[in-house]
């Protein structure tokens, strides 16, 4: 009981510090803006730890963060192999194939009006569908190994990237396009010098949504059959063995991979679209 009371105290303390910081004079500095969510996160972890220990919650319901950390540190080789199988082989290859296919398709769609009128509504429609459902079919076609996961990822990332890229390629104003015309620029010159750069903020939005979708696709596809390695496989078998600390360790890996992947794409975006008002800050 003592620990639960302590958890309560930690919560109040964390909130009090954050209130002081947020309402203090330095609230707008970068350090404080980073510090506040960090304090909040640490408070949450401490409360979790103390409550789990205080109420003696069994491991099969909710392991304490310290146990998860121990398990994480102790099974880095397994986690790494799973990460390589699911992320590098499955998600990343599918992401690259799917995004480049969607990008090329978008250029074609943009070039021919008829294709745009016909394909975009279909693309918008498909983007709302539960595409993960294709996983059992693709697993049946491409086998249990990473190829089927990559295929699921390709299908999942294709339409968001397509729709966003097409929207981006239409971003230029008539004035800008006319200017290119007066320069006697060819289609491809105008494309590379005007419309492609103008489309980049949209393209990167598509690419950023696709990072999360890629991981979701690769993990969920493993629920339908996989070799005895991979994050989705490990999650579903560890859940079956009630080894929840392992499940949480995999979730930590998934969270890290997801945010790093997103972060990398966002960083590339920053470099490529340095001119965009939202990046100049």
């Amino acid at each position: 009981m003592m620990l639960v009371v302590m958890a309560f105290g930690v919560w109040i303390l964390g909130w009090w510090i954050n209130t002081r910081l947020a309402e203090g004079p330095n609230a707008q500095t970068r350090a404080v803006k980073l510090l506040i969510p960090t304090i909040f996160g640490v408070t949450l972890l401490l409360v979790w730890e103390l409550v789990v220990r205080g109420l003696e919650v069994p491991l099969v319901i909710l392991p304490a963060p310290s146990l998860i950390a121990v398990r994480f540190a102790g099974s880095i080789p397994i986690l790494w192999v799973d990460f390589a199988q699911t992320f590098i082989k499955g998600a990343l290859s599918g992401y690259l194939i799917g995004c480049s296919a969607a990008f090329l398709m978008a250029i074609a769609v943009d070039r021919w009006e008829f294709l745009r009128l016909g394909l975009l509504p279909v693309g918008n429609f498909v983007a709302a569908l539960p595409i993960v459902g294709t996983a059992p079919i693709l697993v049946m076609w491409f086998g249990f190994d990473w190829q089927s996961k990559a295929a699921v990822v390709v299908v999942m990332v294709f339409f968001p990237v397509l729709v966003n890229t097409v929207a981006g390629l239409r971003e230029t104003t008539a004035m800008q396009r006319d200017l290119m015309e007066t320069y006697a620029a060819s289609y491809w010159q105008a494309f590379f010098k005007l419309r492609l750069p103008a489309a980049m903020p949209f393209v990167f939005n598509g690419l950023k949504i696709a990072t999360t979708l890629a991981l979701v696709g690769a993990i969920v596809a493993e629920f339908f059959g996989s070799p005895t390695v991979g994050m989705g496989f490990r999650i579903s078998t560890s859940v079956g063995q009630l080894a929840l600390d392992m499940v949480w360790a995999e979730i930590v890996v998934a969270a890290l991979a997801g945010s790093l992947f997103y972060g990398v794409v966002a960083m590339v975006e920053k470099v490529v679209t340095f001119w965009h008002p939202s990046q100049r800050g």
């Binding site: 947020a22 008829f114 294709l115 918008n124 993960v132 939005n205 999360t212 629920f223 059959g225």
Partner: protein, 326 residues
């Protein structure tokens, strides 16, 4: 200038697709027709090996006898050498790729051709999934709006919670699904609730992020105007912020309900649930019932399209009533 909207549903909502409606309807129909034609064409090489095995068993003459010899041959070559087998590729019992009409017939048989209480009716399975989706969506949206209101009105909450809400969108939270199901099962909660919880947390974060954006969308001028009227915070909320947030709310609701449906379907996978569209997918993949998988998939797609379409209609009506329709 705001960064362009992130989600395809959002661009769909805000973008105008020029051109006359007739022409675009024609274009859409053409694209669909091409897709269906491609689908039929793809069935032939996909199914040819299975068909040839059956045909050989039935005593037909085949260019290369013996399934093992055919295993490494190209499908297209086999099709060209055994043209008689082409119609059979569209009528197999358990094809690798069922033809569109097979899926259509199965959909018809399992929705309108069966009593909806039957365990083989897709309406029954669809309802199992839909009820979990809607319950979860309601919970997730409700909590999401509440949190967004808190974030907009409290600086501490904004600075401590908002970064985590944004980061949470970059991680595959669906990986938590199997664990939630099993843990809740072990404490005795089962049925609709675990699936609804997964649906709820999948729709929760998009709603929080969208709603915060919406509640902040009134500009300084408008907020200042209310201040000159000496409006209280609550008045400012009900008369300015909440109405201004509606377009954003509907955009995130559409994203949220699509995510909720995915959550409910994935929530049915890990326990080997007996009912629901996810269970149909899983059972179909265990027993190689491809037609069943495809029909469950289409049922899920139709369900998703109806839900998003319904929200779109409500959006249109509400925005029009509020004088905000574009």
């Amino acid at each position: 200038m705001r960064a362009p909207c992130v989600h395809p549903l959002c661009t769909a909502a805000t973008q105008h697709f020029g051109g006359e409606p007739m022409k675009s309807a024609l274009a859409v129909l053409t694209v669909i027709a091409v897709l269906v034609a491609f689908w039929y064409a793809a069935c032939v090489p996909m199914n040819i090996k299975g068909v040839l095995v059956e045909a050989e068993r039935a005593g037909a003459e085949i260019s290369t006898p013996g399934a093992r010899d055919r295993r490494d041959m190209s499908e297209v070559g086999l099709v060209l050498d055994n043209r008689f087998a082409i119609p059979a590729t569209w009528a197999q019992d358990r094809p690798r790729l069922p033809a569109p009409h097979q899926v259509g017939i199965e959909l018809w048989k399992t929705t309108l051709g069966k009593k909806i209480t039957s365990k083989r009716s897709l309406v029954y399975h669809g309802w199992v999934t839909l009820s979990a989706t809607l319950l979860g969506f309601a919970i997730g949206t409700g909590l999401g709006v509440l949190l967004a209101v808190g974030i907009v009105h409290s600086k501490v909450m904004d600075m401590s919670v908002m970064p985590w809400a944004i980061v949470s969108q970059t991680i595959p939270i669906i990986a938590l699904a199997p664990m939630i199901i099993v843990v809740l099962y072990s404490v005795g909660v089962q049925g609709i609730i675990p699936k609804a919880i997964i649906s709820a947390y999948l729709s929760f974060f998009p709603v929080v992020v969208g709603m915060v954006k919406g509640l902040r969308s009134p500009d300084h001028m408008q907020l200042d105007l209310l201040r000159t009227y000496s409006a209280s915070n609550a008045q400012g909320f009900w008369k300015l912020r909440l109405p201004a947030s509606m377009p954003y709310l509907f955009t995130s609701l559409k994203i949220g309900i699509a995510a909720s449906l995915v959550g409910a379907i994935v929530g049915e996978l890990p326990t080997g649930a007996v009912a629901g569209l996810g269970a149909r997918l899983l059972a179909g993949s265990y027993y190689g019932q491809t037609v069943q998988i495809w029909s469950a998939l289409f049922a899920a797609a139709i369900l998703a399209a109806c839900l998003v379409g319904l929200l779109g209609l409500i959006e249109k009506a509400v925005l029009k009533r509020m004088g905000m329709a574009s």
